[in-house]
């Protein structure tokens, strides 16, 4: 499935509805829907907020697919270069006083996904993120 997204934060709600429908139609569990919608929220919010510093109406692409193993998300934008996979992780062991407010979004994308691949091709950021359909990922899972 292909979706064209405008660089406007109001788009988030429309994308959530699209992802919800996609997951329902493809028999994706509520738990995985939650992970996918959270990942896309973070990625799309980042692009809308930072990829086009000069402003103006711009569009970028999202594709969403399900295969036997994964839900595969491809996000392609022609904004300024940004590689989410190389961002430093926040210190999740710091105290509440020391804990910084930022940097969590990309960290969650990394933690909730199995594969995250970035390339810069033809002045485009191309990001592929895969969420495993079954729970054999790096986080320990409850009751599975």
């Amino acid at each position: 499935m292909l979706v064209k997204i405008k660089n406007n934060i109001e788009e988030i709600s429309r994308i959530c509805d699209i992802v919800r429908n996609f997951c329902v139609q493809n028999g994706v569990s509520d738990e995985k829907y939650h992970d996918v919608v959270l990942i896309l929220d973070e990625l799309i919010t980042n692009i809308i907020s930072y990829a086009y510093p000069d402003g103006g109406e711009r569009f970028f692409d999202l594709s969403l697919e399900k295969n036997d193993q994964y839900i595969v998300m491809n996000v392609i934008d022609d904004g300024i270069p940004f590689d989410p996979s190389s961002q430093a992780d926040p210190d999740v062991d710091s105290s509440i006083e020391e804990r910084q407010l930022g940097g969590l979004g990309i960290f969650m994308v990394k933690q909730l996904s199995e594969v995250i691949e970035y390339s810069r091709v033809d002045d485009q950021n191309r990001l592929c993120v895969k969420v495993a359909l079954c729970n054999k990922n790096k986080e320990e899972n409850h009751g599975d």
Partner: protein, 110 residues
């Protein structure tokens, strides 16, 4: 999005409804911060939200920081597993207090 704010046994309970994302986090922030300003005992209830992005987590952390600094208390209650997983990944389960429900947070507030 809707934010419900109620007083339950001397505790201000804030309940966001729907999605807490970048486009709605300002309303969530306004609701939580007005409760932080007016009350020393705050609970945030999570069983009426679809998901919470990092924009919402930021607001929860901000409330926790302010209440810790001012001698108040923040409890996070009625958190479904999918939302809890986000708090666990973020390491917030180690710096914020999470309880199954309001009744079980009473001792903490007292």
């Amino acid at each position: 999005m809707e934010i419900k704010i109620a007083e339950e046994d001397g505790i201000t309970v804030v309940t966001p409804v729907g999605r807490v994302d970048t486009s709605t986090s300002k309303a969530f922030e306004d609701g939580v911060m007005s409760a932080v300003a007016s009350g020393k005992k705050l609970a945030i209830r999570f069983n009426e939200i679809d998901y919470m992005s990092s924009a919402g987590l930021r607001v929860v952390l901000m409330a926790g920081k302010k209440l810790t600094a001012s001698g108040g208390a923040l409890a996070l209650i009625d958190m479904p597993e999918k939302i809890f997983s986000v708090f666990r990944i973020s390491g917030f389960d180690k710096i914020l207090k999470i309880f199954p429900n309001l009744a079980e947070s009473k001792e903490f507030f007292n």
